[in-house]
């Protein structure tokens, strides 16, 4: 490894780890505020710090900091009969995997540094002329009309046999225009770990979380803990099966297990959720179950087994489980985004800028500098993660807890057969599609463009909705007034009843 690649790796690690650790802190705040909103109350907003005489509250955003201070200074309790090594190891085992899982997820397209500068000789000294905001990367042009269609990525390398699926486009598309000159830095793949296992790495690490929860339950010397640990192990392995099988369909369509290639495929065609809708729903359900949160919070089940495997934990050791849980929300959202929701891609945002095109007809084209495209992609990726986190919070505060037999029934008798059926259906449809002629595949490409158009419109509306909801809404005040009115009238009814 060269020095620059080590520096870039460190920068990427800081981005990924910094992002999820901070996001998990924000998510604890979000959960409190969102649950408050859904239950028609204000929620915690009184944590404050005094800076130069000014009291700062920031809508309760200081609570995560207060939590951290409190957890670190709380007694670190280990039960006397507990297995001390395992009891200490368990929180580490459940925080570590979600921290590193995002290593294989690409958060933007390949950053082409060579494209941003040119090497010039000034008085015999080699120097770089940087031009960040004027350089873009040209899309490779299609020699085959309509070849940039639903399934084959042939167009990118200009091969003439549509319908025959090769993989080499994946090698070419993420690379930068060749520019061999002295002093060139190269192409930066915007994922920490650039290797082939991809999804296997994710599942290997996600499986480690089960070990953390179950040895926490076993080592605590408490019956509630033991039951919670058992429930956790049993639930997690059940949904791991459904999760693992649900993405096989997606792997068949993409033809790869590398997350960056999956994302690129979705950029070339349509988002995965449109070609694998069933797999998306299965994966989403299994992912929510894997985070052990309501409606799947049976391992904790506070009305039945107090707090399950967390009973004998306090201080930051409890905090590590808690943090791991919130980071898991973020990582499962990131995986869903990368596999099914286009990753960093936005409809019509290509490497050279925005090109709105349906079939062969280009409606609108706008070049955007490479660095801005990269920033927009990062914004899209992290924004999508945020929306999915919001969705998981929404589910958590909407649905009540399952019974354990319902949980097992959902996992083994509904998700698992559905995942197997999805594999079979995907196989038949894919083979039938590959057998169809070029004409049909071109037509499907146009359909894909229309789907992208619909996605773009939907995204615009969601953004408008968020902005209006955030800045322009008077709803909480109206709801509070209505609530007060109801409370008053209820009080009057009670008073009348008492008076009579």
């Amino acid at each position: 490894m060269t020095l620059s690649s080590i520096i870039w790796t460190v920068v990427k690690i800081l981005i990924v780890v910094g992002f999820i650790v901070n996001l998990s802190a924000i998510l604890t705040w979000m959960e409190r505020r969102q649950s408050a909103m859904m239950q028609d109350r204000v929620g915690p907003n009184r944590a404050e710090i005094t800076v130069f005489g000014y009291k700062i509250r920031l809508f309760g955003l200081l609570y995560p900091i207060a939590d951290a201070v409190k957890m670190f200074t709380k007694e670190d309790f280990i039960p006397p009969n507990a297995d001390k090594v395992l009891h200490s190891l368990a929180p580490m085992l459940s925080l570590f995997p979600p921290l590193v899982v995002l290593g294989v997820v690409p958060f933007t397209d390949t950053l082409c540094l060579d494209n941003l500068h040119e090497v010039v000789q000034k008085n015999g000294v080699v120097a770089s002329n940087w031009h960040f905001f004027s350089s873009w990367i040209e899309q490779p042009s299609c020699s085959l009309p309509g070849a940039k269609n639903f399934i084959d990525g042939c167009c990118v390398i200009g091969c003439q046999t549509a319908g025959v699926v090769h993989q080499p486009w994946a090698e070419h598309f993420g690379t930068c225009p060749a520019n061999v000159a002295p002093g060139m830095i190269g192409a930066i793949h915007m994922q920490v770990i650039d290797f082939n296992p991809g999804v296997l790495y994710v599942f290997a690490l996600a499986g480690m979380g089960i070990v953390g929860a179950s040895i926490a339950g076993w080592s605590s010397d408490n019956k509630f803990s033991l039951m919670g640990g058992l429930r956790a192990a049993s639930q997690l392995v059940s949904y791991e099966v459904a999760m693992g099988l649900s993405i096989v369909g997606a792997i068949m369509v993409y033809g790869t297990i590398r997350l960056d290639e999956m994302t690129r495929w979705q950029g070339d065609h349509v988002w995965g959720v449109f070609v694998q809708p069933l797999a998306f729903i299965l994966f989403l359900t299994a992912a929510i179950a894997e985070t052990k949160r309501a409606p799947f919070d049976l391992p904790e089940g506070e009305s039945e087994i107090v707090a399950g495997y967390l009973v004998e934990y306090s201080g930051m050791k409890f905090g590590m489980f808690y943090m791991g849980e919130f980071i898991e929300i973020a990582t499962s959202s990131a995986l869903l985004v990368a596999i099914f929701l286009g990753g960093y891609n936005m409809p019509f945002l290509h490497r050279d800028g925005i090109t709105i095109a349906v079939g062969d007809a280009v409606v609108w084209k706008q070049h955007i500098p490479h660095i801005l495209v990269i920033l927009m992609q990062a914004g899209a990726f992290f924004g999508k993660i945020f929306v999915l986190c919001w969705f998981q919070m929404f589910v958590r505060w909407t649905l009540p807890r399952f019974r354990y037999d319902q949980l097992m029934k959902l996992g083994w008798r509904m998700l698992l057969p559905a995942a197997l059926a999805n594999i079979f259906l995907t196989g038949v449809i894919l083979i039938a599609f590959d057998r169809t002629g070029t004409e049909f595949q071109e037509r499907m490409g146009v359909v894909g463009d229309f789907v992208n158009l619909a996605t773009a419109i939907a995204i615009t509306f969601v953004q408008l909705w968020i902005v209006i909801g955030f800045f322009g809404s008077t709803q909480p005040a109206i709801r509070r007034n209505a609530f007060n009115k109801r409370a008053r009238s209820a009080g009057e009814i009670v008073e009348k009843a008492l008076a009579s």
Partner: protein, 118 residues
């Protein structure tokens, strides 16, 4: 090997963070020693017996089913990657494998292995 170097670097950063939390909470918190304080928590009632209680056999059954079906998933990944170049023959041969497992699943289902409560 150089493809794996960033992974170890990431693991090192993750491990460092986790250890920092662990050491921080071990050092910063107060320590209380008292007989009452050390008892296992059981909602105020006295704890009887150890933690080694008999567990329902269903948990073992779930674990075994997990091993069967998760290995199946691992087997399906390389097949999925190469699926479109294999064509019909790939689908048919994998269907043979899958049908054996589906028969197994149906058998478990009929035997009541997937029923949590009877």
């Amino acid at each position: 090997m150089s493809a794996y170097a960033p992974m170890f670097l990431l693991f090192a950063v993750g491990l460092l963070l986790v250890l920092a939390f662990f050491v921080g909470t071990s050092l910063l918190g107060p320590k209380n020693k008292g007989a009452e304080h050390q008892l296992p928590f059981e909602c105020g009632s006295e704890s009887t017996g150890g933690r080694h209680i008999r567990l329902s056999v269903k948990f073992y059954l779930t674990a075994i089913l997990f091993v069967v079906f998760d290995i199946e998933a691992v087997f399906l990944y390389p097949w999925g990657v190469k699926f479109r170049s294999l064509g019909w023959s790939g689908l048919v041969s994998m269907l043979g494998f899958l049908s054996v497992l589906v028969v197994g699943l149906v058998y478990c289902w009929k035997k009541g292995a997937l029923e949590w409560e009877k």
